[in-house]
């Protein structure tokens, strides 16, 4: 199978979704690029190049550049979805949810409920998420944990190129609004990705490692680090773990997690967001409530400190959960 980076896999998904369904269009800042300039329209494909080629292929009515007006971008996607199209909006950095949160949370996320189940709002909003770029406090937040709190929205965070393609195609085909968070630190990471169209259902976890001693749940960028930690621990100490990558945080594949914890009795949850009201607490609390009697040791949360994301590379490295910290947590839990 061909190897593709996550960036290319997502780009391919967008091409295939747009080719398959003429209701799909993309909208966002510089998703084409060059509009109004003396240069080439379509020169950008998003600042990370993820929408490259869509303008050439599908033209200005389906690859739409906008001013820097995130509320209007999201609102425009919402309105188009309400009347039957299937927009894919791009918000460059998840941090910019700050300037368009109302449209996402109070509008899109609530239409169906407020309207008594009589509307559908099938759209996807793509964001880049997370740290690893020394992009500092306003361009490095994960935010998916915060959006998981809001009923009416679905939230996806892939950890590899293969999943990213299948999940995005599923998200675009989904009749509910989906927030799709792309860990920007993984854009250049490649794995085997089929050329054809395929979907991965939302709400279904992957289990990239299976083992007996500890259940490790990790999200997005942290899945790779958790896998490395697990592999090293197996080699070093013979500890084996289930590694669960929920892939979507809403819906969350609770059963896969609970079943694993029932078997191992030990749980470590890893996420790069700060500790308060996040996904590590969410999953840990679920276990403490629903499989308490299976638990043999304290549940462990490995996450960022309660601070904004720092700029300096050394500080950011200390901020994000490292393979070492994950290993230490697994070791302690298994002890």
């Amino acid at each position: 199978m061909p190897k593709k980076t996550m960036r290319d896999a997502i780009n391919e998904a967008l091409h295939q979704a747009m080719a398959a369904d003429e209701r799909v269009f993309v909208i966002g800042e510089d998703v084409a690029g060059g509009n109004g300039s003396n240069g080439r329209i379509g020169c950008a494909g998003g600042v990370f190049g993820v929408t490259t080629g869509l303008y050439e292929k599908f033209g200005p009515l389906r690859c739409i550049d906008t001013p820097i007006s995130e509320s209007a971008i999201v609102g425009a996607a919402a309105g188009a979805a309400l009347v039957g199209l299937r927009p894919v909006a791009e918000i460059m950095f998840a941090d910019f949810i700050g300037v368009c949160m109302d449209q996402i949370v109070n509008q899109i996320g609530k239409f169906r409920y407020m309207f008594g189940g009589k509307s559908k709002c099938p759209l996807v909003i793509r964001f880049t998420t997370g740290g690893g770029f020394s992009a500092a406090a306003q361009h490095s937040q994960s935010m998916y944990q915060v959006m998981t709190a809001f009923p009416g929205l679905k939230v996806v965070v892939p950890s590899n190129a293969y999943d990213a393609k299948g999940l995005l195609l599923a998200a675009i085909a989904d009749d509910d609004p989906v927030l799709f968070f792309e860990p920007k630190a993984l854009y250049q990471v490649a794995c085997e990705v089929p050329d054809e169209y395929y979907t991965i259902p939302l709400g279904q976890a992957a289990m990239p490692r299976e083992g007996d001693d500890v259940t490790v749940v990790a999200f997005g960028q942290m899945v790779g680090r958790a896998a490395q930690a697990i592999d090293e621990l197996e080699a070093e100490l013979g500890i084996t773990c289930d590694l669960i990558d929920p892939r979507s945080t809403s819906p969350l594949d609770e059963e896969t997690i609970l079943e694993s914890v029932r078997a191992t009795g030990r749980l470590v949850v890893v996420d790069e967001s700060p500790p308060r009201c996040g996904l590590t607490a969410d999953v840990a609390a679920m276990a403490a409530e629903r499989v308490f009697h299976s638990l043999k040791a304290p549940v462990k949360q490995v996450c960022a400190p309660h601070s904004p994301v720092p700029f300096s590379p050394e500080l950011e490295a200390a901020y994000l959960p490292s393979v070492e910290r994950i290993k230490a947590a697994i070791r302690e839990t298994a002890a």
């Binding site: 269009f25 909208i27 009515l61 389906r62 739409i64 906008t66 001013p67 007006s69 509320s71 209007a72 971008i73 999201v74 609102g75 425009a76 996607a77 919402a78 309105g79 188009a80 979805a81 309400l82 009347v83 039957g84 199209l85 927009p87 109302d102 449209q103 109070n106 509008q107 239409f111 169906r112 409920y113 407020m114 309207f115 008594g116 189940g117 009589k118 509307s119 559908k120 009923p151 009416g152 679905k154 989904d174 009749d175 509910d176 709400g203 819906p251």
Partner: protein, 322 residues
């Protein structure tokens, strides 16, 4: 602009329906029959009707917190609406939305909206969809004189110009946002000019005169339908009730509401014109008044009798599937 009898009867009936609906809702809230925050549209009817009488099935509107009038004007079922105010599961939104979220997507009503200026960006999206699909429908958003100071509203206006989509921004100046006058909250001297500076024409009318609104809205809609991009409508009008039901209205000048009800009542103005032109007889209008009163009586009775929601309904209708 000339109207046939049917159009005139219909316009009057629509305005009258809104008025009676609102006055009755007011009474029922005072009686403790309707819960929540309700904002009444009485006094502003000509604006909703003057705009919506231009619209067809493919066109959409999106409303504000003060949504009853727009919904009725665009064709929402008043009995379903009244049941919704009552919080019944037979309501237009199964009692989940209430006054601030009344919607009827099938009628092209993308909802009342509890967030000031939540609507305009969404309306730009509906307009964009029309453009993408190559249809000639238009998308109307209603905004108040206060709402136009919210960032989302400005963004929507600029985006509509950039994308050249058939979005119509209807600005209803009822002089107040809550307790604050437009004279304070809109910093510039001329809101019409500030709006036009975004790059689209704004047509002005007396918002208590159906014919004036109809004409201005017609120009705006024709402009947009013809593919010229967005347009605006700007009308002044009086709000007859408080901002919300229960508002002590300390911001009113002496005799203000009385004067508004006297001089800026769209029903009175409509009747005066009919008397002048003879196009409709007084008895015909009286008949409409009577019929509308019967309809709203029925709506209230139906709402009172309608099924109450049960706890199991709380967590349904959140997703299509989850």
């Amino acid at each position: 602009m000339s109207f046939n009898r049917e159009q005139l009867l219909r316009a009057y009936r629509q305005m009258c329906t809104i008025r009676v609906f609102e006055d009755r809702a007011h009474a029922e809230i005072m009686n403790g029959q309707i819960a929540g925050f309700t904002h009444l549209y009485a006094g502003q009817e000509a604006n909703a009707v003057g705009v919506c009488e231009h619209l067809g099935a493919g066109d959409t509107i999106i409303s504000t917190h003060r949504g009853h009038g727009h919904c009725i004007a665009k064709g929402a079922d008043v009995i379903g609406m009244m049941k919704e105010l009552w919080g019944s599961s037979e309501g237009l939104c199964k009692g989940k939305g209430g006054s601030m979220h009344i919607a009827d997507i099938d009628q092209g009503i993308l909802g009342a909206n509890g967030i000031v200026a939540g609507g305009p960006p969404i309306s730009v999206g509906a307009a964009l969809a029309a453009k993408i699909r190559g249809r000639d429908s238009v998308a109307i958003s209603f905004s108040g004189d206060g709402s136009v100071n919210q960032g989302t509203c400005f963004e929507a206006m600029n985006l509509a110009v950039v994308l050249k989509v058939p979005a119509i921004f209807v600005i209803e100046n009822n002089y107040y946002s809550e307790h604050t006058s437009i004279n304070y909250a809109v910093g510039c001297k001329d809101l019409k000019a500030r709006t036009e500076a975004f790059g689209f024409p704004v047509f002005v009318a007396d918002g208590s005169d159906f014919f004036a609104v109809y004409e201005a809205a017609g120009k705006a809609i024709a402009h947009a339908r013809a593919g010229n991009g967005p347009a605006g409508v700007f009308c002044e009008m009086g709000r007859f009730h408080g901002h919300f039901v229960g508002d002590p209205e300390g911001y009113r000048g002496p005799g203000e509401v009385k004067r508004l009800r006297q001089d800026f009542c769209c029903l009175k103005k409509f009747r005066a014109r009919m008397e002048q032109t003879g196009e409709l007889a007084v008895a015909e209008l009286d008949d409409i008044d009577a019929a509308v009163n019967v309809l709203i009586d029925e709506a209230v009775l139906a709402a009172r009798a309608a099924r109450r929601p049960v706890a199991a309904e709380v967590a349904t209708d959140v997703y299509v599937n989850y």
